[in-house]
Symmetry: D2
Subunit: 268 residues, 4 copies
Amino acid sequence: MICSSTDTHAQIIEAAALAGKHIFCEKPIALDLPSIDRALDAVERAGVKLQIGFNRRFDANYRRVRQAVERGEIGRPHLLHLISCDPKPPPIEYIRVSGGLFLDMTIHDFDMARFLVGSEVEEVFVLAGVLVDSAIGTVGDVDTAVITVQFTNGVIGTIENSRQAIYGYDQRVELLGSAGAIRTENNYSNTAILSNGHGVQRDLPLHFFVERYSESFLAEMAAFVDSVLHDTPLAVTGHDGRVPVVLALAARKSLAEHRPVRLSEIEQ
Amino acid sequence: MICSSTDTHAQIIEAAALAGKHIFCEKPIALDLPSIDRALDAVERAGVKLQIGFNRRFDANYRRVRQAVERGEIGRPHLLHLISCDPKPPPIEYIRVSGGLFLDMTIHDFDMARFLVGSEVEEVFVLAGVLVDSAIGTVGDVDTAVITVQFTNGVIGTIENSRQAIYGYDQRVELLGSAGAIRTENNYSNTAILSNGHGVQRDLPLHFFVERYSESFLAEMAAFVDSVLHDTPLAVTGHDGRVPVVLALAARKSLAEHRPVRLSEIEQ
Amino acid sequence: MICSSTDTHAQIIEAAALAGKHIFCEKPIALDLPSIDRALDAVERAGVKLQIGFNRRFDANYRRVRQAVERGEIGRPHLLHLISCDPKPPPIEYIRVSGGLFLDMTIHDFDMARFLVGSEVEEVFVLAGVLVDSAIGTVGDVDTAVITVQFTNGVIGTIENSRQAIYGYDQRVELLGSAGAIRTENNYSNTAILSNGHGVQRDLPLHFFVERYSESFLAEMAAFVDSVLHDTPLAVTGHDGRVPVVLALAARKSLAEHRPVRLSEIEQ
Amino acid sequence: MICSSTDTHAQIIEAAALAGKHIFCEKPIALDLPSIDRALDAVERAGVKLQIGFNRRFDANYRRVRQAVERGEIGRPHLLHLISCDPKPPPIEYIRVSGGLFLDMTIHDFDMARFLVGSEVEEVFVLAGVLVDSAIGTVGDVDTAVITVQFTNGVIGTIENSRQAIYGYDQRVELLGSAGAIRTENNYSNTAILSNGHGVQRDLPLHFFVERYSESFLAEMAAFVDSVLHDTPLAVTGHDGRVPVVLALAARKSLAEHRPVRLSEIEQ
């Protein structure tokens, strides 16, 4: 189980693979492709299993959306909209070494986009800004972004990120298809609705990822253990860990050059 | 931990108390008051702790309603409406020995009514029928009921029970007060909403008590262990286990005699 | 169109019938049965049409519930729960001459109960109190009530009334049946949901009957005009205007004598 | 009141202005800027009033979002997401002369974006495709699009358009700000929720603009009449009618050239 800081992931993966251990590693594998590729090569040569910690794939809401796509409940997907906002920015020291918004935060959404639509991404375009905290800009990062995503199967998507949704973690998705649409809501600690002289209200949604995704963290681990014990296919492979990094690098380039960037430009 | 069939609870409580053990016992303590009172006496003489398994008090939704009352968020309570329906009736053999709808099913709602309003009940009136399955009537029970409840503090309440809500477990409450109202919704396995050419829909609510109350079962046990370890007051006492039985007996009498019945009539 | 004070309705109906006019009259026809029966006799002798102003039958929400019953979408109805609360009590002078809660306010709910379930009521039981404003008690009325209703077809119902839901008009219904359940929500002036650091909230529901039922007032009038123009059956007949008065008188008797009262006791 | 086909709007505006008439004109004023500018010049010279038919500004949901911005209820706006989908595509003959998706359909959303955020747009980027009906592609149009919008005040927005949301008109907005977020839902003909053995469902949303925006059509007309009668400022000016056309032309250019396009490029 590799839950250390990102800059040590690839190296530990290699060491663990050499030692013949099956590996669960937190996302992202690394912030650069050469490190990732070395790690994935080591895994392949050793013939061990490597599952990447994209826990949201195990969340009941996202699973239900994926299921709707697989069952054809919404027909052929057309438009994806992912909303993913944190309750507040992490400390500036963290942001400085995080690899930036796309590698640190959007990377989960890039994985989710691929997972839900069931297709690879061809091109991204980014519009972003420093709207939440100017200090984030001073370390060269952005805190608010819309990432437009063109999938190879024709689906068009947008990912909406903010480092600060003051009401708490905002984790939702909408997917419109030829035969219908499916959308999810935030999760709450209770269902109570209070009406008084001022309005109709409920408590805030679950505050952050620890509360919101507690069940999916357990489920991803159970799935990993199950794959190892019964030698069954992994739910999130090393390849699934690599692609979102390519997407994040493309997003970074799109932001820098203010133009749509194809993933093939990153792979070269 | 006494999780055996109801007719053995009181006797095991007495034995455990004699052995100086702290006791967690499933509801109801017994189906008759003399057995309950003997058991509670044994507990008191032994100076051990006894917590009754009214797990719903530990559910996040009901806790939030209780909190609203305690904090004065809805002012002084006026009207309580409890909805409590099972997805389908238990086997007839179970119903035959269950003590009837009020002692088997409504007993949870009687506890919840006292817990939420924070007052004792003075009188009940029952309207009930056999609407779900005529076999239930042949063993002398009802499957559908409205129990009207008069609290000593003036609050008026209704409890709505059915052995069959075909869409799954229905567990909700509404409480109207002088300064507002609070209500809860059913719990679901996911938040996804699917819109197609026929309608806007979501999956069924959590099916039955095992799914719906899984967290509250853990929480009640944690609370019991905590009370024992730190010798703190119990969240659900032996008295809390006794009163709902009185209420159920009053409900049974109200149904039989088709008139409002005061709890004092049962205590005599 | 008779929209004068209640004590003049019956007399104007008789005069209008004598004049050969088709009549639309606000509810209730009168507060006593002899006056109602004289008015209905006059209408029958004159062969004119008489529609009573139970506008809620034309409301989209209640119509949809009725439709669900008619189409069998919920199977055979078992349990009805009607919630009907005003935002604040009328002036004491009004209450004094209103005929009391049951004839003034619950009368709409009695009509709705018959309309939705499609069956007559056999018996009522009332639990009520003065919880909102003690001044209402001094003029001999109650401001908070639960009316338990036994229908001839076996359905059990409850009507929940309060003179004060501080958040605004509360007009909802739930109907549980053998194959499903249907429930309605309050209506709002907009669908906006605001999330901030304190909670997730929306504006108050439509404040009172003028806003809430504006469309149904238009629709009932259009239906009346249509019935007159095309000589088609009325949507709400004189008989539909009479029965809720019988129910209200039974409710009053139940409250006074603290026992279930059969409608046949009132008809004698 | 100019409700003729789009290609006649500008010419009739000029004629009406010359005749000294106050003018209400449906959107868009014209599909090209020179025609619009000639019409607006004529209006200005004649000193008459010209209101453009952006009726959605008068819709209760959008008004509430605008109000939240004005009152500071969500702080400083950061991210706008507009969803605007039709239930089904218009006939191909209509699409052929419509000016294309951006001038025909998105134009409402461009107006709404400016109205809600209270800022002008600087640049747009379009990702679009023919996913609904290939016939739409054969006449040179698209049926599915995401338009990314950069506002001058820093706000980032996306507009999501589809010619076909099979469940009916989908008209929603979300606006995230520094102190909160506000979002609206679709409007429905009733609030009834039906639960049966298959799921929990409600009827489809209001089907199309006639049902969905009926009240706003009345309100925009009332506002126009009011402005004329009392010589007060118009709610939607000729300038408000011109800018969305500029936006639509920029969107068209962005789609053709697959790059972000600044509005200043269109104005040259």
